[in-house]
């Protein structure tokens, strides 16, 4: 981020090939390359265990009976009740419906955000138009505004449209991401040579043709990473969904709020619901964690 902040100040227009910098540097051994000692590993393993433990404990509690959880000394390994507790959670908090809703909501938001961001990112990176720099600076500035603050009028609009408890109420407001636009702009500016676009223009290609046949293929890796990050954020979004939706049409987070709100007494069922609601993201993370890590670090230096 920092580099980009200075980048935009310096030359937002022609996106200097900053992307090449880190790679060439890495070849020249960027950063430090000291070997880690035992103590380093010890600390890292400790940090890793701390990161995993609450999730592991969720599994333990979700697979036990309520009485087991309350035992002293506490039980620290999984028990046999997992499926039973899953069933209970599905019945008591409608987690099944919540999972389906979350899937619909998060997928729609992901597709919409990636598309909007790629379109706008391409325009900001490669097209010339009046007010471009001002608009880009404005977009970056809005990344600082927490969406929480606009919740009240949004709620009034939703109420007026009678969208309360309908999924579009949580999809539409989340379709825009200033971060996404910025992320795509940086990537396209750096990885798509101007000459390629010039050449296509000489061949008589229209802008939209250039977008679909040149920009999209080049930008695909960044679109995938942005999609992953967007999906995770959308799946975990909390504030607006608990306002716009209720237990009649919950997303996972709304259902979890219900679970924690005291209606369900059984702690092991609460933990089973928590586990069910978290599993899909954990699966995505397990499969594509490396890409997500790369995306975040990439975004840190450049977006």
């Amino acid at each position: 981020m920092t580099t980009t902040l200075t980048d935009t100040r310096r030359a937002p227009a022609n996106g200097a090939p900053a992307v090449n910098r880190p790679t060439t540097r890495r070849r020249k051994r960027a950063g430090r390359t000291m070997h880690a000692g035992r103590l380093t590993y010890a600390f890292l393993v400790l940090a890793t265990l701390t990161s995993m433990f609450p999730l592991y404990y969720t599994l333990v509690a979700a697979s036990r009976s309520n009485a087991d959880i309350a035992r002293v000394p506490p039980v620290l390994w999984p028990g046999p009740n997992l499926l039973h507790n899953f069933q209970q959670a599905l019945q008591q908090a409608d987690i099944g419906r919540a999972l389906l809703n979350s899937l619909i909501v998060s997928s729609s938001i992901t597709v919409g955000t990636v598309l909007c961001s790629t379109l706008a990112g391409f325009a900001f990176a490669k097209l010339r138009f009046r007010g471009r720099n001002a608009l880009l600076a404005f977009t970056v500035g809005t990344m600082m505004i927490p969406p929480q603050l606009g919740v009240i009028p949004l709620f009034m609009v939703i109420a007026k449209l009678q969208w309360a408890n309908q999924l579009q109420a949580v999809i539409l407001p989340s379709l825009v991401s200033a971060f996404g636009v910025f992320f795509m702009r940086q990537y396209i500016a750096q990885s798509l040579p101007d000459e390629l676009i010039e050449a296509a223009r000489v061949d008589g290609a229209s802008t939209s043709r250039i977008f679909w046949t040149i920009v999209i293929p080049v930008a695909r890796p960044a679109m995938a990473v942005l999609g992953l990050l967007t999906f995770m954020t959308a799946w975990n979004d909390f504030f607006w969904p608990i306002i716009a939706l209720s237990s009649q049409e919950p997303t996972v987070q709304v259902a979890l709020r219900q679970l924690g709100g005291g209606y369900v007494q059984d702690q092991s069922v609460i933990m089973a619901g928590t586990l069910l609601g978290t599993l899909p993201v954990l699966v995505v993370f397990g499969l594509l964690g490396r890409q997500i890590v790369g995306g975040i670090m990439h975004g840190a230096v450049k977006g």
Partner: protein
């Protein structure tokens, strides 16, 4: 046609197109940013400005269509409410309790991750796991861990002879517990941000420092930290903004919008939610939202001021 005149010559290479096509080409970029800005105007900018408007009216949750002019009274009502001041104080203390240890830990972790490591992808991925966990899920688990009678934390403490801590009703204890959730979720993420910053520090700086006989510690303080300054500033700003709107953790820790029995860990975000959706005062909630917005502007501005005071040195990058 006149539209085109001021903006020619931007692209000299393509063969001169017909005027109509040129006009289209001059306008077409706006078509690409239009989807984003339309949605942004509707769901980002308009709500923010309209919040300011609403904050001067009495609007109740049950009848969001009816507005009654109230002038500044929503604001005075907020400032007269002792719970507002409690929430403001809590926002700062919770913010400090969660942000400071989190960023220090993240810095340390990033430093360790920056060594040549076996299984570095695994370490990085696992450290990002908490970030992938939702606020709701994390809070429900931590509420369990911090349980008074059967919580693991109290059990572990009892092993070293510390009596059962009341993580729910005490001000500092409950705020510590809530901060732990924030720290757990965000430390790994920030460590990766710092790590990315560290990796863009040129290696020759370290080589030079080593040749001057600087120890690893000195290298950390005199090469890594200065090189990381912009990243740290960014992380501090983002964490501060995050802290001012802390919401899900205090809401779900015990499941009530009051943030504990005596509001001991109610944040401004939660206070706004309580006014709007527990007490039905949307107008007053809007006033709180604007107070929060101004507070964020103030904090970010202060941050910018503090960091601009010492420019220099950044040329090294």
């Amino acid at each position: 046609m006149t539209l085109v005149a001021p903006a020619p010559g931007a692209r000299p290479s393509p063969p001169a197109p017909a005027p109509a096509r040129r006009a289209l080409r001059a306008l077409s970029p706006y078509g690409y940013i239009a989807p984003f800005f339309t949605l942004f105007a509707a769901f980002g900018l308009f709500p923010l400005l309209y919040t300011a408007y609403i904050s001067f009216y009495k609007v109740e949750l049950q009848t969001p269509g009816d507005k009654l002019w109230r002038g500044w009274s929503n604001y005075t009502a907020v400032f007269d409410d002792p719970f507002f001041w409690t929430a403001l104080r809590n926002t700062f203390t919770l913010g400090a309790l969660s942000t400071i240890p989190q960023l220090m830990l993240a810095l340390g972790l990033a430093h360790l991750l920056n060594y040549k490591l076996r299984g570095r992808t695994l370490f990085r991925t696992v450290m990002l796991l908490p970030y992938a966990t939702s606020v709701a899920a994390a809070t429900l688990v931590f509420a369990q861990l911090f349980g008074h009678d059967f919580g693991l934390v109290n059990y572990a403490l009892s092993l070293v002879g510390i009596g059962p801590v009341d993580w729910q009703t005490g001000t500092w204890t409950s705020q510590t517990a809530v901060s732990c959730i924030v720290i757990w979720r965000w430390t790994g993420y920030n460590a990766l941000i710092f790590l990315a910053g560290m990796q863009s520090i040129p290696a020759d700086l370290y080589e030079a420092a080593e040749m001057d006989g600087a120890s690893r510690w000195r290298q950390f303080f005199h090469v890594t930290l200065p090189g990381l300054r912009p990243t740290i500033v960014f992380a501090v700003i983002m964490s501060t903004i995050g802290a001012t709107q802390l919401f899900g953790e205090p809401l779900l820790f015990e499941g009530s919008a009051s943030g504990g029995i005596s509001h001991q860990y109610q944040t401004l975000g939660l206070y706004m939610y309580e006014q709007g959706w527990s007490f039905f005062h949307l107008g007053r909630a809007a006033a709180i939202a604007w107070v929060m917005f101004l507070l964020i502007l103030l904090l970010v501005g202060l941050n910018a001021l503090l960091t601009r005071r010492r420019p220099a040195k950044e040329t090294a990058r």
